[in-house]
Amino acid sequence: MDMSQYRSLFLSEAREYLRTINETVVGLEETPEDRSGIDTLFRGAHSLKGMAASMEYGDIVEVAHRMEDLMLRVRDMGLVFDSGVADLLLEGSDLIERMMVDLEADREPRTPAGDLPDRLAGYTPPPPPPRKAADPAPAASAAEPAPAQATPSAASVPAVEPAVPSTPPPTPVEPERTKELEVTSVRVKTELLDHLANLTGELITNKNRLLSINRDLASPQLGEAVGETAKLLRALHDEVMKVRLMPFEAIVDRFQRSVRALAKKSGKELHFEIVGREIGLDRSILESLVDPINHMLRNAVDHGMEESAERVAAGKPARGVVKLSVARDRDRVLVTVSDDGRGMVPERMIASAIRKGLISPDEASQLSPRQALMLSCIPGFSTAREVTDVSGRGVGMDAVNASIQKLGGTLAIESEPGKGTRFTLALPMTIAIIHALVVQCGPIKGAVPVTAVLRTVELRRHQMTRVGNRSVFNLDGEALPLLSLNRALGLPLGRFPDGIVPLFVTEAKGRRVGIVVDRLLGQHELFIKPLGRPLSKLPGLGGGAVLGDGELITLLDVADLL
């Protein structure tokens, strides 16, 4: 029997099992006697073993088999599901994933199983610590398995101190395999989806071209036909984008894993909650969100959250809450990471920025509390011990902010001292076809995603004032610095003979700024194409697009340019 035809099915289904295993392990640490969770883990390892055996992937069979045996001991032989078991299972799941990556790349396995199978087989729990009288009974142990709950759902992180009994987490949800039995659904390759999205994009470019031609022809019939085509294209675009959406669920297990590890390392007691698992995001955006979200979670656990004793002294529950939630807001997706920790104090942020030489005391006096919080996104604000590498783009919150802006999104920070902090990312639903503000600077036309534009303003000269050597203008009671896009692009500064200065407001390096351009040319629906080599190496550009009249423009990453 030729098994190679089953390989991709094997890989995708095996990954579903691994994801279920990872999530269930994390859930079980909260309620170690939850029978349905234990069964799920046993079955997951068992199925993986069987599938891998059919494919004759001996290394995977070996690891999955030992995981299954370990779960058998938990299920039938009274072995307690403790953090040692959890660690081994997660390690096994990681190892299998790495083995599958090798398989996928058609190369010899580079990750030997090492001693993991032996450690799985030979696991013995550490001697139990003397039991304290205050120990609570394990939550929801003998209870009926709870029905699978809809979101919001929670998964908790092991506490170092005995935990306060909490509401039981939902039963780990089995991947819904039954759905795939329906003949009304088919599996398609992701390349096909990309291709469909590209074709739709080309059609939109072509529609813009027709519109542009009819500007000269002024034919009512053609105008009507193009209008109708535009409507149909919008519907097609929506449908194609829907197909490309993947639920946020697809990446949450990584966050559960990392928060768990961080809490363990820092010895803090906390509860991690995830809301909005079912919200769909474009695949490419989803992938680029993993690192920024991980960094914000790390911030929340390492810096936002206090030690239990400090919390109790402040009259708060000993166990902190870190929450990751995803929600839709029209054509945007909002991702928030919040904690109920110590919060940030604007005055302290300002003092720290002055000390590090990032702003002058003069500039500091102009900052609103909101602007002060955004100082954390200035490169150089985070010190080395607070930072992690974010997709090779550097370190710290400034890297998070930069990668969000690359996606055409924005980052906002709200915080109340003593109450907690909330980071909100606002992102476009898709990135291939976007609405963009087209601007002119000298000979150059550029596009800025509307998601990165807070508003456009036509300023009169007398509305501008100078602070130190900088021009500023007042927007909603906040003094915003004015920067010239011409200067950022190395072009001569624009002249404004009629005294009206066109600009758009955006967020750059953590602050709201006014970006002055020669002309605002209006909003366009653009199909963004990659620039390829060598231009993809040019900083400040995020791709390009064809306008209706055939003109080519580039997508500007304003934050990168300034």
């Binding site: 029997m1 095996a14 079955r43 199925s47 073993k49 599938m51 055996a53």
Partner: protein
């Protein structure tokens, strides 16, 4: 007339493989199910002449499903699929009315032989 079959396994991968193998041998796969509950429901609906039934499944395992299927139709021809190391369950299934066993990972020749024996008998 081709013998009609229902394939029950919680893994889509396993179902697909077994379905391909059976269809190649001229069987007609008229239903699939991913857990015990579904297996019983589909059996009632489609009345397949032959059932391949996995043991380790969510919601209702293969042994429980076997019991319910045999109660619906004591003449049902059910073949259990089990992995090495589950011999005790296999014995239990045999007592409960299963006609035969096939071992995972599937050996195509062995599967074909077992099914032929069950259908011939």
């Amino acid at each position: 007339m081709a013998t009609t079959v229902m394939v029950v396994d919680d893994s889509l991968f396993m179902r697909k493989m077994l379905r391909d193998l059976l269809e190649e041998q001229g069987y007609q796969v008229i239903a699939e199910a991913a857990d015990g509950n579904e297996a019983v429901a589909r059996f009632r609906e489609k009345a397949p002449e032959l059932v391949t039934l996995d043991i380790v499944m969510p919601n209702k395992n293969g042994l429980e499903a076997l019991g319910e299927i045999m109660a619906l139709d004591p003449a049902a021809r059910v073949v259990m699929c089990s992995a090495v190391g589950q011999e005790s369950m296999a014995q239990e299934a045999s007592l409960a009315g299963a006609k035969a066993f096939i071992l995972k990972p599937f050996n195509p020749e062995h599967v074909v032989q077992v099914l032929r024996d069950v259908c011939g008998g």
